[in-house]
Amino acid sequence: MEPETGEQMENMGDKHNKNICKEAFVKSIPILCSYLFVSMAYGIMMEEAGYHWYYSLLVSLSVYTGAFQFVFVTLLSSGASFLTIALTAFLMNSRQSFYALTFVDEFAKMGKRKLYMIHTMTDETYVINCSLSEQGETKRSLMFLVALFSRCYWMIGAVLGGVLGQLLPFNMQGIDFCMTALFVIIFIDQWEKAKSHFPALIGLAAAVVCLLIVGADYFLLPSLIITSAVLLLWNCRKESDRNDDLNA
């Protein structure tokens, strides 16, 4: 593969840029299908909870995360405390820190686009970014365009969901199951990739126990805290086991 520099890119002109746009669009088609649909469900769910399309747009524009936005609807409509919202956002979105970690060097070369890239990193664009075989400036342009397109799909879907949700002649009750379905799918994906199923099982056990003890209204936070604590201890124990092995 031929390495490309910024200067070469500029010389290649419009045709090259068009090709990159097309390529980025093709790469983003899977995201288009899932984002448009899921964010429409989000817009409808917000509408059902009494928040109009401009709230959906505002959240999609400023927060822009899949799973958390859905949980956020229930948090908002139940009037959850800022502490609960902050901790839920922190725990649910802390994975984003680990995504960005992969691209620290690449984003650093992107100049003005760096901030936008940081803000628009999602599970799906992360996967696409990882799968790109292109190099250099071509890769960076593709990453930027995929991020831009994906965010547009998400925002368009959220607004459409909010606006059309109001106009739909039939009752949309139950559309929020979409979120559960999405979580089940992500869970299966992660289960298949995982080396150990202990984290998933601990999460499940902690949540069920907390639900039964604390009740449906308040169990999310204790579940997340207990899960993180157990996993931290579990990691430490694995570490010390390995050290023991090395010392033996």
């Binding site: 299908c33 949980v71 009037g79 999405l182 089940v184 992500i186 499940l204």
Partner: protein, 130 residues
């Protein structure tokens, strides 16, 4: 970026002026959105804030981050299905059947869209029938 900022400003204004009656809840929602957006952005930017130089991320954090996603997803599934405990009769059966539909169809076809549509459609039908 500029366009985004401008849009955000006008949306906040619209949101504030159109719901002046329910001022308290509007303020709560806007603050909550701001809070969530800030936390999410800081989390995304964290590696850039910490690791632009020689610094390396604490090992235990890297490892926690690697195992956290699947655990959190499990917690979230229980969160979505919390209604099954409080309302066994009307909630549990449709949810369990729909979750099974999503799981089995996804294992079979590995198509996100099909599984979401199938599960959600079944759920929406079941809650109207049962």
């Amino acid at each position: 970026m500029m366009i985004s900022m401008h849009n955000m400003g006008s949306i906040i204004l619209t949101a504030m002026t159109s719901v002046t009656g329910a001022g308290n809840h509007t303020r709560y929602v806007l603050l909550a959105i701001l809070l969530a957006a800030l936390i999410t952005f800081v989390l995304r930017a964290l590696p850039f804030l910490i690791f632009h130089g020689e610094h390396k991320m604490a090992n235990f954090l890297v490892k926690l981050g690697a195992v956290l996603p699947s655990a959190i997803m499990a917690v979230l599934i229980v969160y979505c299905l919390k209604g099954t405990v409080t309302d066994w009769k009307t909630n549990a059966l449709p949810q369990i059947l729909a979750v099974l539909t999503v799981g089995i169809s996804y294992k079979w076809k590995h198509n996100t869209l099909i599984s979401i549509v199938a599960g959600t459609a079944l759920y929406m039908i079941l809650i109207r029938m049962l």
